[in-house]
């Protein structure tokens, strides 16, 4: 018993003896990085540091006091983390250079575990935070603001490649190519982030299975959000707002399967949700409002269940390109529904076909769009409602709601 106690004390004292390095100049910083032992803390005082390619190869705690500025003067990158258990906080990273050979970043994390990057600011960085083959990392409370140029010459805000169990919380990303970019990232949680004014996508992921996205806001991004080739994704309580433009989508889903898309708000997007090659998705309790097209389901989607959503003030609620669909629609509210409810169970007695003839027509010849909202177009839609012939026969909601579904209020804490 005594030996154990002594052992414990010894370990504790070791812990207590981990050294604190206070750093005020670049020379001191380099010396500290070089001479420090594992688990030391390096405190960087306020100031302007011209630094380049600082490698961290042992577990260190880097703390910026009063936001010291690390300026790479567009010549390279700043931190390269190649060790587990590193923590970086309180810095302001500036002017990371841009190159087409290497992805220079404000903080680059390579093959490490348990790295924390939080409360930093990234300004004018080619890439903000760059993770590669790293697991269990935390990226929290960072502000990442880039100056967008062209797609080829702008990096991503938070970029992760081949990672697992990443946590991305409360970040703000603006003016990058993709706000948050994931490729082969699994079991990760992305929460409370705001990604806006990025020139391509607010969020972009591929082959990233079992990830969860909640309470994020994706607003005014060049092409909205695009997610591809992934299964078992959960997207809840997100807000897709004002992604408007020729090829912008609230969210573009390509080859996504077995996923939940629930309780999201799609507001003022050219296309709220675009689904291509999607299978077995559950889309429930979403609100689609003021979109050009609320939901676009390509004919190669199957067995998706779209239920209890509210479709309000969209130009077209649903559009599709084929005549046969194998998706299920039920209990949605459509503001264009004109049916009645005799038995007062809240469900309309006649089914609703959300694909209008006019939108089918536009599918075949987009030029016909010049007739949008003309009397002729309205007339055609009315006729089609009475005698359906061109619109997809089984794209229908058998139990459309008479009143909007009760959907809990959204609360976005960004």
């Amino acid at each position: 018993m005594k030996t154990i106690l002594i052992c414990c004390l010894f370990i504790l004292s070791l812990e207590a003896f981990s050294k604190n390095w206070s750093v005020k100049t670049v020379q001191e910083l380099q010396k500290a990085l070089h001479e420090s032992k594992a688990n030391d803390t390096i405190l960087v005082a306020k100031g302007n540091y011209k630094v380049l390619n600082l490698e961290i190869t042992k577990p260190l705690v880097m703390i910026g006091q009063n936001q010291p500025v690390f300026d790479a003067q567009f010549k390279g990158e700043i931190f390269i983390v190649k060790s587990d258990d590193v923590s970086i906080s309180g810095f302001r990273f500036k002017n990371v250079g841009e190159t087409s050979m290497i992805d220079w970043a404000g903080v680059k994390i390579l093959e490490s575990e348990n790295v924390k990057v939080f409360k930093n600011e990234f300004v004018n960085c080619y890439f903000g935070v760059y993770l590669s083959a790293s697991n269990k990392c935390w990226i929290e409370n960072n502000r990442i603001i880039g100056t967008p140029k062209e797609e080829q010459t702008t990096g991503n805000g938070i970029h992760a490649w081949k990672c697992d169990s990443i946590n991305v919380f409360n970040n703000y990303v603006e003016g990058h190519r993709d706000g948050i970019y994931f490729e082969f990232v699994t079991n990760s949680l992305i929460k409370n982030n705001l990604s806006t004014k990025n020139i391509r996508y607010g969020l972009h992921f591929m082959f990233s299975h079992y990830d969860t996205y909640t309470h994020n806001i994706f607003k005014k991004n060049g092409a909205g959000v695009a997610v591809m080739y992934t299964k078992h994704v959960t997207m809840k309580d997100n807000f897709f707002d004002s992604n408007w433009g020729g090829s912008a989508y609230g969210i573009l889903l390509k080859d996504i399967s077995d996923s939940d898309i629930e309780h999201n708000l799609f507001n003022s997007n050219t296309v709220g949700v675009y689904m291509e090659g999607c299978s077995r998705l559950k889309m429930g309790k979403n609100i689609f409002q003021k979109n050009g097209v609320g939901l676009r389901i390509q004919a190669n989607c199957d067995e998706n269940n779209i239920h209890h959503n509210n479709f309000m003030a969209n130009t077209f609620d649903i559009a599709t390109n084929g005549s046969v669909t194998f998706n299920y629609l039920n209990d949605n509210y459509w503001d264009k529904y004109e049916g009645y409810d005799l038995n007062r169970d809240g469900k309309g007695d006649i089914l609703y076909r959300p694909v209008s003839l006019f939108s089918t027509l536009i599918e075949r010849m987009p030029q016909a769009m010049i007739l949008l909202r003309s009397f002729t177009a309205t007339l055609l839609d009315k006729i089609e409602k009475i005698i359906p012939s061109l619109t997809p026969e089984n794209m229908k909601d058998d139990s459309p709601r008479m009143k909007p579904n009760a959907i809990e209020a959204f609360n976005f804490k960004v």
């Binding site: 433009g245 130009t315 010849m365």
Partner: protein
Amino acid sequence: MKKTIKYVVYDIIRNRFVIGYTILLLLLSISFFWFESDPNKGLLSLLNIILMVIPLVSVIFSTIHFYNSYEFIELLSAQPMSRRTIYFSQFLGLCFSLGMAFLIGVGLPTLIFDGSMRGLTLVSGGLLITLTFVAIAFLASVITKDKAKAIGVALAVWFYLCILYDGMVLMVLVNMADYPMEKASLLFSALNPMDLARILVLMQLDVSALMGITGAVFQNFFSSTWGVFISFVLLLLWVLTPVFFGYRIFSKKDL
């Protein structure tokens, strides 16, 4: 001329129809803006009214008015007055009363609830449509000999511009779907005042992103100052051409 215009306007107002029409428009506009939470939707509902009801009322009322005041026109012709004064005082009097009805009935609420560029486009487009159909009614009245025929002609023109034309455009687009029709559809829309006004308003409501390549062509054209200028000139031409031809015929017509 001023004096005759005054008498024409006075005559129209005494009729009370225009006052009723103004109140109806006012009620409709206000209810659209009140019942729709989104002013955009209010504007779109109003657009439907402008495209259907206003041309119809303008064209029929103008034709009827022309024939109802036929005796007055004959009387004026006996006075030392030029045919030009008679014709244009009648036309301007009608334009003034129906224009005012539109401005009070639709313009006022629109500018109050949505005084932005799109509201302004809607109101100016609607005003020009009113004038266009007054002009068309005058042309229809002078080329015919009796009231029923004139109303028939006026209604036929309304039917053509409102319904048939779009149907025909749709038919052409269906049959020519394999060809690039973006520029052609721009031309088609320019040839119909209703389409022109509708697209001008839709462009302001920013639905162009929905329209793919056609939208891009349209957006390029209609969002440039040039495009807006040209479309308003075209709309004005739609007023001036029938008036001019109507006057040519009227000045030689045996009353």
